[in-house]
């Protein structure tokens, strides 16, 4: 759990994830969540996407983009519930839920990118 010894580790993950999320996620969501579905750009076909994702650089990129921002989310969302909604009595549950999502997401990303 979070205490004086482990807090710097969690904060470092939060900070690193914040940088990755700030730099990489907007263009990611803009491309595949808005521009491609709305037809603003010509999205790569299935085979082109497969080719792109097979490259080791893309896989490494996707692993970084999927793992660190989840730890950023875990830290920030935990404190949103703590400060914003004042759910202090559920502290352990909230902690397990937030970091559980981050760990499961990271493992899933590593597995999927290794299998592809």
């Amino acid at each position: 759990m979070v205490n004086r010894e482990t807090e710097p580790l969690f904060w470092t993950l939060f900070s690193a994830g914040g940088v990755v999320a700030a730099l990489f996620l907007p263009v990611q969501l803009f491309l595949f969540g808005l521009a491609a579905p709305l037809g603003w750009v010509h999205a790569p076909s299935y085979s082109a996407m497969q080719q792109l994702v097979h490259s080791p650089i893309t896989r490494l990129y996707l692993l970084v983009v999927c793992s660190l921002p989840l730890f950023h989310f875990a830290h920030r969302f935990r404190y949103t519930l703590y400060d914003g909604l004042q759910i202090k009595h559920l502290n352990e549950v909230v902690f397990a839920g937030c970091y559980g999502v981050a760990i499961v997401g990271t493992v899933a990303a590593a597995y999927l990118l290794w299998r592809i």
Binding site: G17, G18, V19, A21, A22, L23, F24, L25, P26, V27, Q28, L29, F30, L31, F32, G33, L34, A36, P37, L38, V41, H42, A43, P44, S45, Y46, S47, A48, M49, Q50, Q51, L52, V53, L62, V65, C66, P69, L70, H72, F73, R76, F77, Y79, T80, D83, G84, L85, Q86, V101, G105, A108, A109, L112, L113, R115, I116
Partner: protein, 160 residues
């Protein structure tokens, strides 16, 4: 009571009464004052625009998790094959999905902008004893943001 009797009584009783002793003891005080803390409403942050901005900034983390989830679903669809990927593309163009993604994109922009603007406040860089102005710390980050976005955009579009 005789003098001897008085002395005996004084010896059997402690010199300081128990109640007074507990008040003196640094370990335990019987009547510790409890600090009065008025209960704070769950909606405390609705009163002031700065607080609302703070909560929105904190909630941007949900958009971050959402975007990562979409990337994972997209990779999973790529593994499952062409029909699964076409289905993924169809789902992404449903009106509900577009609406959610517009909101999520706005939150991601809020996160990026507040993050870059916060960096100079978190890092006090000093050169020659003088603090470097914030523009020189957040400026390069905005530049990196634009450059990275352009590169990722160009790589994906060039395959389209």
């Amino acid at each position: 009571m005789s003098r001897a009797g008085q002395a005996q009584a004084a010896a059997s009783q402690p010199a300081i009464p128990a109640s007074a002793q507990s008040a003196i003891s640094p370990v335990y005080t019987e009547f510790h004052p409890r600090w009065y803390r008025p209960p704070v409403s769950t909606y405390w942050w609705l009163g002031k625009s700065a607080y609302v901005k703070f909560i929105l900034r904190e909630l941007s983390s949900v958009a971050v998790a959402w975007t990562v989830a979409l990337v994972l679903v997209q990779v999973l669809a790529l593994i499952r094959g062409q029909s699964a990927y076409l289905q993924f593309e169809r789902r992404m163009s449903s009106p509900w999905m577009i609406a959610i993604n517009i909101v999520a994109f706005a939150f991601l922009l809020l996160h990026s902008i507040t993050w870059f603007n916060l960096a100079p406040k978190a890092m006090a860089v000093r050169v020659g004893g003088r603090r470097v102005p914030g523009v020189f710390i957040s400026g390069p980050q905005y530049l990196a943001w634009i450059t990275i976005s352009a590169i990722v955009f160009a790589i994906v579009i060039s395959r389209g």
